[in-house]
Amino acid sequence: MLLKTMHCLLFIFLISGCGLNHNQLVKTKSFGTATEDLGKISEQEFLNIRNGIIEINKTLLLIDSSKKSNSLVLDKPTYASDTAKRIAASKSLKLYGELLNQLANEKRTDNLQSAAAKLLESSSTALDKELPEETKNALNTLIVNLGSMWVEKKKADAAKEIINAYQASVTKLADLLYEDFSLDQQSQGYLKAYERTAVRLKNASMKLLDEENQHSISEREHVIHAYTLAETAINRAKELSTKAQQSAMQLKTANAELVNVINNPQYSSDDIKNYAKQVQEFVNLYQVLSR
């Protein structure tokens, strides 16, 4: 009778809805990991761009005698306050990724096993008789299953609430990151500022390199250093831009897919898979390009 009652409870749990299905768990975890990585890289890269611009402008001051103390603001246009706001936004994206990962990863089976054991012990006391071993085992399994389903259902409810609540702001952040990592003709973001500053240094160093026999070896050494610094920065910006933009774009489509998947368990597309792949490529490239 007790077992029948527990089975009834299990049935009630089943019809009241259950946890995230395998597809939903995989997608949530995959999206969470990629978003965490993208947030982490963005956070580092905003700082790198600002430091890079300062270094380039210092070198420009060194080689171009026409530049005076008031003609260059070293960190323009990536001032500390603007950079800090971008870092804060990247951190919030990273934290969102972490949160989704935790939701998709946490396993509570051990806790449930111990809760089941305690429960059986106290039930035996309440019943004032020792239950047969067979019944105990069956009850234990049922309790763990019931508990797991309850926990998974709570997690699914939380995931739905969280993913729907974050949807709009993640999309907005994806658009902002796309612009900041773009080198398109019309773009006016952080990476473009870095690339334009480097192009300016390249122009100044080209002018000096093209002047014949007017500089000592030591002066020429500074110019060559400046030219190399500029070229390296320009190439780095180009490499980064492609992957970063693709990742930001995929973040947007993958975010839309995640919302669909979480609200409709049957929904499936490859957007999150592509996003995870894209971000992984970006992570790999970023390790190569790390300053």
Partner: protein
């Protein structure tokens, strides 16, 4: 307005860079004009970055709002252990009734 200016600036810079890179030696003024135009591009980018910063602040605030809205659900999950124990307590309470049924 800004976009048109940016487009025209981009085109002028491309033309001057072409002269600089194809004529050897290029007219000396090309380098300094280019320097000024690059500086102007950076001024335009500066304005765009300031504007985008406001949007970043809004987006971060929206993320924080989402976090606040869902804090209850997250807190609930963090309390899973105690919740699991509560199931135990609940079943323990009905155990005497179940005993009658056995």
């Amino acid at each position: 307005m800004m976009t048109t200016l940016g487009k025209e600036l981009h085109q002028t810079i491309s033309d001057l860079e072409y002269i600089r890179d194809t004529q050897k030696p290029p007219p000396p003024a090309v380098y300094s004009i280019l320097d000024q135009l690059y500086a102007l591009q950076i001024v335009l980018i500066d304005a765009a970055i300031q504007k985008a910063t406001v949007e970043y602040v809004n987006a971060t605030a929206a993320m924080e709002n989402a976090a606040k809205e869902t804090r209850q659900a997250i807190d609930d999950l963090k309390k899973l252990e105690s919740a699991i124990e509560k199931i135990g307590v609940a079943i323990e309470k009905v155990a005497p009734l179940l005993a009658l049924a056995i």
